[in-house]
Amino acid sequence: MDITKVLLITFIGLTALLIYTVVLRPDLTTTRGGKMLAFIALFILPVALAGAGVQTHIESSKQTEFCLSCHIMEPYGKSLRIDDGVHLAGSHFVNHRIPVDEACYTCHTDYTVFGGTKSKLRGLRHVWVWLTQDPKPPLHLYAAYTNKNCLHCHLGGKPFEEGAVHNADPETMKQIKEDKLSCVSSGCHDMNHDTANLKNLKFYYPPGERQP
């Protein structure tokens, strides 16, 4: 468990003790000091703790483990372990080109002002779809995957900027940067989560990590 959660739970425990004291002795609230204590225990601290709870939940929802905790995501989690440079998700994850603890969030969030919020709203939509429509793999994105998600990291990097294919003609680079030529669906980097062929692929697990 990460330190944020431990600290938050500790604060919750201390606040609970304070609330318990006020609940046991409500007569405390007749004095000025008691009124202040009640205001802090029954209003300020609970509001702060509820806000911190929301923030902590949002942070923990960025974890790869969180996304893969749904059964339907299992093959997608496995595809992250594909040991083949052609497979986009696998090569990013296995080679640690993305933070492995936040792998899903890193590639599937919009890097805009409200990108994180939008991602979380999409997450709530996932739950709604799962509850009402019984989705089956292969899963599909709600909207086309934009180049912004790739260029957030790759823009300015040598392999991207000086890549032979990217610079084959002047229009190609322009179209990629303007999101008119998709990185992942224009036939270039289209091998993503190949969940249909998992049986035929090789996986990499670091030493000491248990294979499923």
């Binding site: 468990m1 959660k5 938050l8 739970i9 919750i12 606040t15 609970a16 609330i19 318990y20 006020v22 609940v23 409500p26 007569d27 609230t29 007749t30 004095t31 009640a38 205001f39 225990a41 029954l42 209003f43 609970p46 509001v47 703790l49 509820a50 709870g53 929301v54 902590t56 939940h57 949002i58 923990s60 929802s61 974890q63 483990e65 969180f66 905790s69 749904c70 997450g123 709530l124 996932h126 739950v127």
Partner: protein, 76 residues
């Protein structure tokens, strides 16, 4: 000197009214329940945990805060 031993006029000042006491207790209990839900959902790493926290925990928090604010507003 206990509250019962005080003269009537002082007793009113040092004792919270039964309604206020009840509202404070109710508020505290709801807030404690809300915090219990928060702890459980923090320990449960699953997408459903956030929904439970918002729906159940949030409701307890709101009820607790409302009960406390009522006790403050209607003290007199």
């Amino acid at each position: 000197m206990t509250a019962e031993q005080l003269p009537e006029v002082h007793r009113r000042e040092s004792d919270a009214s039964p309604k206020v006491k009840r509202r404070i207790r109710v508020s505290g209990i709801f807030l404690l329940l809300g915090m219990a839900v928060e702890v459980i959902t923090l320990l449960w790493a699953h997408p459903t945990s956030f929904l439970v926290f918002v729906a159940v925990g949030g409701l307890f928090f709101l009820l607790g805060l409302a009960a406390y604010l009522f006790s403050v507003v209607f003290t007199h």
